[in-house]
Amino acid sequence: MSEKKKNIFADHKIMSRAMKDSFMKLNPRMQVKNPVMFMVFISAILTLVMFGFSLAGVRDAHPGYILAISVILWFTVLFGNFAEAIAEGRGKAQADALRAGRRDVLANKIESIEHKDKIVQVKSTELKKGDLVYVKANEQIPADGDVVDGAASVDESAITGESAPVIRESGGDRSAVTGGTTVISDWLVIKVTSNAGEGFMDKMIAMVEGASRKKTPNELALQLFLVALSIIFVLVTVSLYSYSVFSSDQMGSVNPTSITNLVALLICLAPTTIGALLSAIGIAGMSRLNQANVLAMSGRAIEAAGDVDILLLDKTGTITLGNRQADAFIPVDGHTEEEVADAAQLSSLADETPEGRSIVVLAKERFDMRGRNMAELHAEFVPFTAKTRMSGINYRGSEIRKGAAEAIKAYVEEKGGVFSKACEETAARIASQGGTPLVVAKDGRVVGVIQLKDIVKQGVKEKFADLRKMGIKTIMITGDNPLTAASIAAEAGVDDFLAEATPEGKLEMIRDYQQRGHLVAMTGDGTNDAPALAQADVAVAMNTGTQAAKEAGNMVDLDSSPTKLIEIVKIGKQLLMTRGALTTFSIANDVAKYFAIIPALFMGLYPGLSALNIMGLHSADSAVLSAIIYNALIIIGLIPLALKGVKYREVPAAKMLSGNLLVYGLGGIIVPFAAIKVIDVLITVTGIVG
């Protein structure tokens, strides 16, 4: 899915489809969904009808002028349609790709796990919830389901874009499979969890395509505001006609306003810029989220993401690197540090875990102990088991073991040794500093303690500081004990932490924050995360997670990346900011449009009003035409901004506001003055308007 990053305007396929769609969207039933643009649509039809009449001699303006206005109005409508179409374009292309990858496959339906050989072949579309299917290597998984038997590697690139296969197995948190993905090796028995047409892939197609897009609450509220403004402007223009009749009567001159001019004035004043781009902004926000490989189940969730002020972040993977590293060797009971290092390295030679390797490396760095070869030493490796909870080697008649303090204590005491108080204290001290103690023992006597440390990711502290500036609190969720958690929390600079976290604990915490008026976002993958996910305002389920987790969340992260939450918040905020910025810009534009049109229209009636013609526009006709041409062109001009979103910085609200106001408020006042003047000059110089 790397082609997603490509510039959308350079993609001919999307462009040509968007142009075609712009005309398809002229259907009144689609137009009426956007009231502001529907008004433009009606005005375009009205002026066209008036042009017809003008040819027959019934006219209040020159037919050519009426036609020009009508044509520009039609373009305004088309530009609005185009904005929406191009925003939908990327999603539609993605949906097409998803559809193309899907085949109707024959599913191997079986009666029970015990009888995998009794296969009945049915079409995947005929599968029902609860059916069992048997999927072998190189077969497509026919429907969403849970693995109930077997383990296999599955290629999920169809949905995640990630080509490396993932393991799916029965039981645990890696049991969910998605219809449309392919088993690469081995086999699986899957219990179908969704009926045909309701699967994850179907939802995904519908979401990226925008077919099920509903207006979000904030979008509705904004639309209400825009409609209200439009109503005011209808009244303004109608009453202006009446004032104009009255004034020209009083002055004994000809009424200077024509219906054509008033329609043009109405469309100039109406918030058409934001009206035309409003749905494009929403779709583009959704699309940006899709590009981040996050699938939102509703637009509402993205808006909520902008409002989130509490992030529950899992420690591992988000705040710390996934594994711990050896940090120090601490001798006890009269041993030297070198002895500890030696024993520790020996015990870890065959330990392929990242922790084990880091011990070998640390010993080498400290005491220049080269990693010795197991085979040369004739050592026997004792692997870690759940029962002993220790690992180590048997070497030249000695037993070297390392493990958690309790495990080694039991081992030492069993051997008749003493687990000294000093050792116990050392272990406790390490734990309190955020480390993990591993005790090393040789022949039933404790040698020393290895200090393993969580490694806080680079740059997270700054990231969290930025978030704090924006008013977002970060809370670390960890299974560690409170002492360890507190120490890592301090190092990473999170605002709070939840230690020894349990699903109930998380749920409790979310409820508590919500009670105090906060909006909480979290990620989760396990089935036991489901209640907390359901409670959180923004709940991102990992794609690797269980079906229950995915259903409880309102977003699915296809990359299953724990840091995704921060990006989601950013996209949510950006969406809302873009809406606000373009609304401000659109309304600020009206100032210049008034100064363009009103003096030009009434200069004949009251010559003094020419003092207000500060742009020095050529004539009433050229002023109206320039304003309405600007009005149409600005829609096209702002499409890239609507799609990309306004610039986003992690600064406090007050600072963000003043920055945006300066750009979009002040800019919105100045830009049209210049642009309308330029257009006026162009159309008069070229002789389009006499």
Partner: protein, 583 residues
């Protein structure tokens, strides 16, 4: 000019100095807390509840609260209309004045019930003492109180969390009238009566003129008039509340320009401060009772900055006059030894500064009483009062309704600005959702809709031109002013506009009812929905609504909505007139 500035600054200083303690007092009254008058007034209050069988513990849902407001106002309207039409047979009518026409009765009833107090009549020749005292003055109190209690309900909406009720209409009404309006009115009436404002049931006096006047009859002969009629009546009591309750309906036709309503600079100061006293105080009440004084201060400052700017523009233009006034040489516009400036339509006992301040105050508040004739102001000096009304009477505005109107604008402001900080909008920790937005739009846009529709229709009617005093651009200003006055529930007249015709009476009456009750019910709906919401926590990501930036934005939004709605209208009225005079 310095003289004007010093006077205006002094008036504002006195106003704010009195309003701050009053705001705290009203805040206590709203919550039923103990105040220094409690010892005397609690028994009165409880007595009223006992007689009316009011359960003072009841906490009303917003629908019930709104129903109470609605029913109360409908009954008020009906009773007042009836009183006006049948005043001939009612007592206290020493002059034997006949009943009003049905349409004037409707217009006047609508006008007083909506706290507009537009006057299509002249009090001394049209209304009996009974109509004035029992009919109009009762409404002066309760229509002012209704505005205040709706504001109380809205404040409760902001502070309550997940609750259904927004207070009790009856206790709010009784407390507002008994603890706030009556004591203040008493003080003001006694003060102005001491200065010569009549307070009597006696019939009109006939006095000998000091200097006989010779008038020419239609047939060319002349008559010497040696006697004049001095209208009397219970004026002081009515004038006090008409000022305090942002009513503005004068006892006499010329309102506070009439020497018996406003005899001297002292009464003028008193009456002028009374116009804005309660609306300004309510800003501080708001801050106190939402438990964040900074919020009240921000709203106050936004309003005050607009008021100060308005005063400056009016004062400057009136003092400067117009080129025509100077050219003719009739009027001395310099400021040496005398007031100078555009004195047409102004009382010499008040002068430019006081008249301009009054014009600003009375149109900022939806008061509408006048001590000079706005019709005679310079084009820009007349534009500003008109604009203040067109903005929806939110620069302090009417008692209660000005502030809740401004809070509607605050909701609009946080909606647009809030989005720009990347959050869905919230105000005072409450999320603004589509419903609140819908209602806020009704609150803010009812006035522009009413003014545009009303004046648009009126301008097309041939009869309208006949009602005008002046032709041309100033004629349009007169029409605009009349509908702005009604559409802002202000009630001041531009003069020069004869409004007592069936069409104008009915249409203006309907406009007044529309702009009063649509925003009012919308406000109660917001209050109800806000009270039911949970509070959102404040963080660095929250848009602050108490700093200079918000004040600036609020002003911009108010002016922008006003300018977008009325720029064309004003261009053809006062602005065109201005350029006619200067270019």
């Amino acid at each position: 000019m310095t003289n004007v500035v010093i006077q205006m600054a002094l008036y504002c200083l006195i106003l704010v100095g009195l309003a701050i303690p009053l705001g705290a007092y009203i805040g206590k009254v709203m919550n039923g807390e103990h105040v220094f008058l409690s010892r005397i007034l609690v028994p009165v209050e409880n007595g009223i509840y006992k007689v009316l069988k009011v359960d003072k513990k009841e906490d009303m849902h917003w629908r019930k609260y709104a129903a109470c407001v609605g029913v109360f106002s409908v009954i008020s309207l009906g009773v007042l209309w009836l009183i006006l039409c049948i005043q001939k047979v009612l007592p206290l009518n020493p002059e034997g004045i006949g009943g009003t026409s049905w349409h004037l009765g409707f217009n006047t009833a609508a006008s007083f019930v909506t706290n507009t107090n537009w006057q299509a009549y002249s009090g001394e020749s049209t209304l009996s003492y009974f109509s004035q005292m029992i009919g109009l003055n009762f409404q002066n109190f309760v229509s002012a109180a209704v505005g205040i209690v709706v504001l109380f309900a809205l404040i409760r909406g902001f502070i309550r969390v997940k609750q259904k009720g927004i207070g009790n209409f009856y206790t709010d009404m009784v407390r507002t009238v008994v603890y706030v309006l009556l004591p203040l009115s008493l003080i003001v009436s006694v003060c102005i009566a001491s200065q010569g404002v009549p307070q009597t049931f006696r019939a009109y006096d006939e006095v000998d003129l000091v200097e006989p006047v010779v008038v020419e009859n239609e047939d060319g002969s002349t008559t010497e008039v040696t006697k004049g009629v001095v209208p009397l009546g219970p004026a002081a009591s009515q004038i006090a509340i008409k000022q305090l309750g942002t009513n503005g309906g004068g006892f006499y036709g010329n309102n506070s320009a009439h020497p018996l309503e406003n005899p001297n600079p002292f009464t003028n100061l008193l009456e002028m401060i009374a116009i804005l006293l309660i609306p300004v105080a309510l800003c501080f009440t708001f801050g106190r009772n939402v438990k964040d004084k900074r919020q009240g201060r921000a709203i106050f400052l936004a309003m005050f900055i607009m008021l100060a700017a308005a005063l400056a523009v009016i004062g400057y233009n009136e003092q400067k006059g117009t080129p025509q006034i100077e050219q003719s040489g009739v009027v001395y516009t310099g400021a040496e030894d005398q007031a100078g400036g555009n004195m047409e339509g102004k009382e010499t006992r008040f002068g430019i500064a006081t008249s301009a301040t009054w014009a600003g105050f009375t149109t900022a508040a939806s008061n509408g009483s006048v001590n000079s004739m706005h019709d005679s102001y310079t084009p820009i000096g007349g534009l500003v009062p008109m604009l203040l009304m067109m903005l929806g009477e939110v620069v302090f505005g009417g008692t209660g309704c000005g502030l809740y109107g401004m809070l509607g604008f605050a909701i609009m402001t946080v909606f647009i600005a809030g989005l720009m900080v990347g959050r869905t909008p919230e105000y005072l920790c409450k999320k603004i959702e589509p419903f609140e937005m819908k209602m806020a739009v009704l609150v803010c846009l009812a006035t522009p809709v009413a003014i545009l529709a009303g004046s648009g229709i009126a301008a097309l009617l041939p009869a309208t031109a006949d009602s005008l005093n002046n032709p041309g651009a100033h004629g349009l200003s007169e029409v605009l002013y009349a509908y702005s006055s009604a559409g802002g529930n202000n009630g001041s007249a531009f003069a020069g506009f004869n409004a007592n015709t069936p069409f104008l009476n009915v249409s203006i009456g309907l406009v007044m009812l529309f702009v009063r009750f649509v925003p009012m019910f919308a406000t109660l709906a917001i209050a109800g929905h806000m009270a039911a919401k949970k509070k959102v926590a404040v963080s660095a990501g929250t848009l602050p609504t108490h700093n200079a930036m918000f004040i600036f934005l609020l002003i911009v939004i108010v002016l922008l909505i006003g300018a977008l709605s009325f720029f064309p209208a004003l261009s053809l009225g006062p602005i065109a007139e201005y350029f006619q005079m200067t270019v």
